[in-house]
């Protein structure tokens, strides 16, 4: 984030915060949708993240990159909201339905979509942060507060799992022909 924008937000400038929101919200909401697998939970996580960031901007160390700090708050909010939601509903059943029934995915990606959905979040979330947000392994390790080598290994394994899943789908398809 630009320092001048940061200063203006810290002084309570609403327009500056709106500018910041406009700059960030697209990627933020996308990442939240992919982590939570649910639009309503993602909207709640996004909203709470911006509120939390506004209220805690003074604790951000401006000598460090802003985005990993911001996305650490976002992922924590996603986890918190998903946990809260899990108390009152069977998360797996309805969350899967939310994305699978959505009209947003195209037929071309249906198999890859299914493969990504099948990944455990330990592998899925680093993949989301790398491929959607464009974070480096180091930045992902900061966001997830996990060792960089662990992230490297999870990305590697996540991609291998995707590959295996797609291969299995192809094999099953051949058998059905």
């Amino acid at each position: 984030m630009e320092r001048s924008l940061l200063q203006r937000i810290k002084s309570g400038d609403k327009d500056a915060f709106r500018t910041f929101y406009n700059q960030q919200v697209d990627k933020t909401l996308r990442v939240a949708i992919l982590i939570t697998k649910n639009h309503e939970l993602a909207k709640e996580a996004t909203q709470e993240t911006f509120i939390r960031v506004y209220r805690n901007l003074s604790s951000y160390d401006a000598s460090k990159p802003f985005d990993p700090w911001f996305y650490r708050i976002l992922t924590n909010e996603c986890y918190r909201i998903m946990k809260k939601e899990a108390k009152i509903s069977n998360q797996h059943a309805y969350i899967d339905t939310d994305i699978k029934d959505s009209s947003i995915k195209t037929e071309d990606y249906s198999e890859l979509n299914e493969a990504i959905q099948s990944l455990n979040e330990l592998y899925r979330i680093p993949i989301i942060l790398k491929y959607l947000k464009g974070f480096s392994e180091r930045e992902i390790s900061t966001v997830l507060e996990t060792n960089q080598n662990t992230i490297k290994s999870r990305l590697h394994k996540g991609r291998a799992l995707l590959k295996n899943y797609l291969n299995d789908l192809k094999e099953r398809g051949k058998k059905h022909v």
Binding site: G12, V25, L29, F50, K87, Y131, L132, N147
Partner: protein, 263 residues
């Protein structure tokens, strides 16, 4: 895969996360209401107070200094050099004298930073030490090893929450891990994670759960690490799905302050 497949993943994630642009306005309206419209909440971001800043800096300095001087191989070497043959209690006293009796850490519990005080405890036969959050947990010694459980026992409807620490002096970590994996998977058939790790400890880690997706679905996380004498330490956490961000996170935070003492 990958290169061309990398591009496909990127595009697929983009497709999977599409949303109606109206949703952005809806979110902003809620944020605006929360931060700027409600008079009681419309104050600007809180500013740091110097007194608090100085206290935080002092605490950070304390923790940094402690961790730089009291952890890892340097510490083990340091402990090793002062050991002399002696009785069990003398060894315990010496081990304890090498560590700060208490530490303060900041841990993130369900997204919220929390200050936690940890207290030094020595493990079975003083072969390791661990800092424990004694406000919430208690450590008991058994013939099989040590077990850390909530200080206030959970009600009967909750599954077990515990962290057991034991040592297998004759079994190297890699062998112990393979054997343990078979045993664990019999009780917890869904393997979630299996990898080498450096956080919170260096060693092997395995995370597995029982069938189901309910709030009380039981999980276990097991760390197996080299005891630096040809054997292994086995640390097994047990908790349930809803407790993962609470007890699970707190157990891992305590394990960051687990230190092997060589004699």
């Amino acid at each position: 895969m990958f290169n061309d497949e990398d591009k496909k993943i990127e595009e697929c994630l983009g497709e999977m996360s599409n949303f109606d642009p109206k949703e952005k306005e809806e979110i902003w309206n809620n944020i605006e209401k929360e931060l700027f419209i409600d008079e009681k909440k419309s104050k600007p971001p809180k500013q740091k107070k110097w007194g608090l800043l100085v206290a935080a800096a002092a605490a950070t300095l304390f923790i940094t200094f402690s961790s730089q001087t009291d952890t890892g191989n340097a510490l083990v070497d340091k402990v090793k050099t002062v050991f002399e043959p002696g009785t069990g209690s003398a060894i315990v006293d010496k081990v304890k004298s090498m560590f700060e009796p208490k530490k303060e850490i900041v841990q993130s519990i369900e997204g919220i930073d929390e200050d936690t005080k940890l207290t030094l405890n020595e493990g079975k036969e003083a072969e390791y030490v661990i800092y424990i959050d004694e406000e919430r947990y208690i450590m008991n010694r058994t013939d099989d090893g040590d077990i850390i459980t909530p200080k206030i026992p959970l009600d009967a409807q909750y599954p077990e929450v515990s962290m057991a620490i034991r040592q297998q002096k004759e079994v190297p970590a890699s062998s112990a891990f393979q054997k343990l994996k078979e045993d664990i998977l019999r009780d917890y058939p869904n393997l979630i994670l299996e990898e080498e790790t450096n956080e919170p400890l260096s060693g092997f880690v395995l995370l597995a759960k029982k069938d189901g997706h309910d709030w009380d679905n039981e999980l276990t996380k097991v760390y197996v690490l080299d005891n630096r004498a040809g054997g292994s330490f086995i640390i097994q956490q047990k908790y349930f799905s809803e407790a993962e961000e609470g007890h699970g996170t707190r157990f891992d935070a305590m394990l960051k302050e687990f230190h092997i003492v060589e004699d």
